[in-house]
């Protein structure tokens, strides 16, 4: 590793009002390395990254370039001139553009000729970049046609390109900040992307924000841990191999219980009766001839890669999508091919995903977000007048039970942290108590502490007799929540295993 860092910021302070979001944090990035940044939501990762790309300006702090102190960047363009660029977690891609158009988006002025844009020149440059980064796609492909991992790679290439164009140098030193790049990906895509990033180290350095400990341990060269705005630990993975447990302990600041209540014996579950069953359920292009039984008070997982049909299957059960053939029975009663979520909810099926943007009403208070799903409980009998006191009491109960960190129950959702937002989503279902609860990526993108609380709540609901179906990309989630797991591959349900067998299957 070269000894001259290409990014060197020291003792950064940043406050919002009276609260310090960053206190005395430093970050150094050397050429050709990947630096992991981990921490709970609200630990200051966001603020640090935004400071590096010039979105926030720090209260105090020093930025050194080749040993000389320089000012912090004023805006993202200025940051690119200093060699820093960011790839955001989502919404960075413009789906309707072709690959070469997207690559030069915002930098078209470098390719203006006498007769408008010099399209052939842009295409050649785009081709070179794709070759350089080993991205397997055509420059004329539309972004929306490409797999998510390829889209991410193109975004990374765009970020490097951006720095080169800003500095007008072919081989500019660059630091690319990746904000949870693997969050929307499944396990294969994830590994593929991480391998690619490791390969890209010869072109650029990376700052890698993530919640997934495995990625840190397997792929990072160095990792820094932030807690409450301060850097609490730094590990050089080459010399100081850190364990996952140790990392989690540094992130949370205490030991997290690894043990959850174990699942029930199989025979007990089968005796308790059927909550949901499917016979030869098919949806063209997604899954075929899927049959399974979901018993009462059981959690059934569907495991498989993206494209295995697991996501479409859970959405079909939720009523978000329809099915083409076969039979789906709720409590022994047949359903129609296409029933909307409100019909399924009336039949006792609730669905929630970790995508809180879809699930929650961000500008509403906690009270309303919980009562919207439980409105029957807080209205008068005849003309459905709202009882505001009951609404407040209901929300207060959930806030206490789930330990949601909030000043009060009328705080708007948008001002809560990611983990607490997700707790509100879980809380509304806890209040609703459906017969069957469908979980799709229930803890995606949230920190270890909140995840722990959510698992406990979900397991609690299960022990109260609620049946569950889980679809996720995290093997640990399956072993924590599920009793049995259906393995899916290319739209077919291959076989059903007990949760203890999952590790063997994954490693095989």
């Amino acid at each position: 590793m070269a000894n001259e860092p290409i990014l060197d910021v020291r003792n950064v302070y940043k406050s919002f009002g009276k609260v310090y979001a960053l206190e005395d944090t430093s970050l150094r990035v050397y050429p050709h390395e990947i630096v992991g940044v981990v921490g709970e939501n609200g630990a200051g990762k966001t603020t640090l990254m935004k400071t590096l790309v010039g979105v926030h300006s720090p209260d105090k702090g020093e930025w050194y370039h080749n040993g000389i102190r320089v000012p912090f960047p004023k805006d993202p363009k200025d940051a690119a001139r200093k060699g820093i660029s960011i790839v955001y977690q989502e919404r960075g891609v413009v789906p309707s553009l072709q690959v070469y158009q997207f690559l030069f988006l915002g930098n078209e002025e470098k390719y203006i000729g006498k007769f408008g844009l010099q399209i052939p020149k842009m295409k050649n440059a785009a081709k070179e970049i794709l070759d350089e980064f080993h991205i397997k796609c055509n420059i004329e492909d539309f972004m929306f046609d490409l797999p998510l991992s390829t889209q991410k790679m193109i975004e990374i290439a765009k970020a490097v390109l951006n720095i080169r164009l800003e500095q007008n140098k072919e081989n500019a030193d660059s630091v690319i900040i990746l904000d949870e790049p693997t969050a929307p990906l499944n396990i294969e895509e994830r590994n593929e992307l991480l391998d690619e990033i490791v390969r890209l180290k010869k072109h650029s350095s990376f700052v890698f924000v993530t919640h997934i400990m495995q990625e840190v341990i397997e792929y990072m060269d160095r990792v820094i841990v932030l807690r409450d705005g301060r850097q609490v630990a730094e590990y050089d993975m080459a010399t100081n191999k850190v364990t996952e447990k140790e990392l989690v302990r540094m992130i949370v600041g205490k030991d997290v219980e690894e043990q959850y209540q174990s699942s029930r014996p199989k025979n007990y579950i089968e005796q308790s009766g059927n909550a949901l069953s499917a016979i030869n359920l098919s949806k063209n292009g997604s899954y075929y001839d899927v049959s399974f039984n979901l018993y009462k008070a059981e959690c059934l997982g569907f495991w498989g890669s993206a494209g295995s049909g697991k996501s479409e299957l859970i959405k079909t059960i939720a009523g978000i999508k329809g099915y083409d053939d076969g039979c789906l029975m709720i409590q022994g009663k047949k359903t129609k091919n296409r029933e909307l979520p409100h019909t399924r909810l009336r039949k006792g099926i609730g669905y929630f995903s970790g995508e809180t943007v879809n699930e929650l009403f961000y500008d509403w208070p906690i009270t309303k977000n919980i009562s919207i799903l439980n409105i029957e409980k807080i209205v008068t009998r005849f003309i459905h007048l709202l009882k505001f006191k009951a609404e407040k009491a209901m929300a207060a109960g959930i806030v206490e039970q789930l330990r949601i960190r909030t000043p009060n129950t009328v705080t708007a959702i948008s001002s809560l942290s990611g983990g607490n937002k997700q707790k509100v989503t879980v809380g509304k279902w806890l209040e609703r108590k459906p017969d069957i609860l469908l979980l799709e990526d229930p803890t995606i993108g949230i920190d270890v502490g909140a995840r722990d609380d959510i698992y406990k709540t979900i397991l609690d609901m299960k022990s109260q007799g609620i049946s569950m179906i889980l679809v996720s990309d995290d093997p640990k989630e399956y072993s924590t929540l599920c009793d049995r797991i259906v393995l899916m591959q290319q739209g077919k349900a291959e076989r059903t295993i007990l949760k203890e067998q999952l590790n063997e299957v994954i490693q095989a």
Binding site: T46, K50, Y88, R91, V357, E359, W364, K368, L373, H384
Partner: protein, 323 residues
């Protein structure tokens, strides 16, 4: 003074200004016009005229407010008033005063139809209700053969019983209260806000979005119908045959100026009251000036643009965030 109360006071006014910018506009305008035309603006005659203007605006805009809460658009209200009046002209000689019920009944039928077409056939509401409006206008002109027919016998509707307060204003208070009650205190209202704020979330929360959209259009038709009973006499007691864009645009300004954005999810009838009041003051202020009618129209158009900008600015921009 204790520090607590010193901190509270500016907060209170700041919050009003931030959440209800229209209140600030209203106060500024009243002061401005009172100084500019000090005798005339605060004269009883002008105050009565302002109230009359307010009644027209609020009764036309209450119905569409429901639909706009959901993020859709309803421009058919003028059509309900026009075609309803034409139906009243036909029915009065046969049924007598009970014919007035034709307004709410026609409103409900019209709203239901629009809602069904909008939801089942997925026609965008803006263009759908505009087409419906033009159809109703055409039908009106055909029915009355192009003449603004007088329908006598309904003068009692607007007969004064409190000096300087137009009687329609009293009716409109009742109608407003009913609308505010629906959105603020019932399950229906909560669902309307939910759909306007996050349609996908509403669907996932088990709300039958299609059904409640139809309900909103039906309610809009109903309130436009109820309003038209009063407005029919309030605006002259004749069947209107000439179509004026102003009648469509001004109530929409009242809604948007009040704080219900085109994207829905916020605002509601209680805010439309503020919008209607403010626009009435603006309009009377312009009317008292020496400006030509065309110039006033131009200014009104600019006000619409400005109020759309203000209303869309209020919502938090969902920018890119780092986790």
């Amino acid at each position: 003074m204790s520090t607590a109360s010193r901190e509270r006071k500016p907060n209170f006014f700041y919050n009003i200004a931030k959440n209800y910018p229209v209140v600030v506009i209203f106060i500024v305008l009243v002061i401005l016009f009172s100084i500019l035309y000090h005798e005339r603006f605060l004269s009883p005659a002008n105050l009565t005229a302002t109230l009359r203007q307010f009644v027209t605006l609020i009764l036309f805009s209450i119905g569409p407010t429901f639909v706009m809460l959901l993020g859709s658009m309803d421009q058919s209200f003028i059509g309900i008033w026009m075609l309803g009046s034409a139906l009243l002209w036909i029915l009065t000689p046969i049924l007598g005063p009970i014919s007035l019920l034709v307004f709410p009944l026609f409103g409900i039928a019209s709203g239901l139809l629009i809602g069904l077409i909008h939801v089942k056939l997925r026609v965008p509401s803006f263009i759908l209700t505009l087409s419906v409006l033009i159809v109703y206008w055409g039908l009106t002109v055909i029915i009355v053969q192009g003449n603004p027919r007088i329908v006598p016998g309904y003068e009692f509707l607007t007969a004064d019983f409190i000096p300087f307060i137009p009687t329609p204003f009293l009716y409109s208070i009742v109608i407003i209260l009913l609308a505010v009650f629906i959105v603020k205190r019932t399950k229906l209202g909560t669902y309307f806000y939910a759909i306007g704020s996050n349609e996908e979330g509403a669907r996932l929360a088990g709300i039958d979005v299609g059904k409640y959209k139809i309900v909103a259009f039906t309610l809009s038709g109903f309130f436009s119908g109820i309003g038209s009973i009063v407005l029919f006499q309030h605006l002259g007691g004749t069947v209107p045959v000439s179509f004026s864009m102003n009648n469509v645009v001004r109530p929409l300004i009242a809604i948007i100026l009040g704080g219900t954005p085109l994207s829905g999810g916020r605002g509601g009838p209680q805010r439309t009251i503020l919008g209607a009041l403010t626009f009435s003051v603006i309009y009377r202020g312009l009317y008292l000036s020496a400006l030509d009618a065309e110039v006033i129209d131009l200014i009104v158009g600019l006000i619409l643009i400005v109020s759309i900008v203000i209303s869309s600015r209020g919502g938090e921009l969902r920018g890119v965030e780092i986790a």
